[in-house]
Subunit: 155 residues, 2 copies
Amino acid sequence: MTFRTKLGAVAVILSTGFAGAAMAQDVGKAVEARQSLMQLYAHYLGTLGGMAKGDMDYDAAKAQAAADSLLAMMTADQSNMWPQGSDTEALGDKTAALPAIWTTYPAIADKGKAAAEAAAALASAAGTDLASLQAAMGGVGASCGACHKDFRQKR
Amino acid sequence: MTFRTKLGAVAVILSTGFAGAAMAQDVGKAVEARQSLMQLYAHYLGTLGGMAKGDMDYDAAKAQAAADSLLAMMTADQSNMWPQGSDTEALGDKTAALPAIWTTYPAIADKGKAAAEAAAALASAAGTDLASLQAAMGGVGASCGACHKDFRQKR
């Protein structure tokens, strides 16, 4: 093996190694980004659910703000957040995302669309009155549950 | 001290303890929620900055989606995310939020408004062409930096 050939081989190993490291970092960041979105779903649903259940006083302006923000989170761009290889079989307990997300695609996109539609209905109702908020919560809860049932690992 | 008095004292201690625990949990969740928003700012700015710097190819649709989502994150409701006692003096390294956020309020709200306006300008420009995207990135970067300079602890 000449020096030049050795150098070439090292360069290939290094560049492959760096590519692998870069990809792992990207995958980790993608997982963090989608988990941040989920955290924010939970944050706004905490306010809306608290009012719907009577744990906190109904406030039309606060309910509207939370529902608008929930809808914004559910319609935000997720195109870089679900790379191949970011499921729980690949990443362990860093994610609960089941491989079915990718193997049954676009089933998850349909469920995501249904969730966004339920969030839009909630945003139309949440600022009207408590009864309207309560009536619209069921659709959002059902759409969250439908997605988690098929695509999130049981804890 | 009678049994009833003792019981009363225990009840006060317990309820105070529970209230403290509930408040700590709420503060922790509030910090997580605002950090999730910041993560998502970084996520979308990563795409937009990557294109602006030439690290990835400019794509009008992707740039527009990222800029729209950044704007949605910057205009999302943060009313429950900054409770008193959620600064770095109270919580240590769980947050970099300086007490100045609360002691100089509403200075941070003005900076937040400026950041949202810069994000709106970016959303108007990002899908036009690369030069428009690049021109609008400076305003967003400056508004991020202005807020971090005054209100985020140096690392």
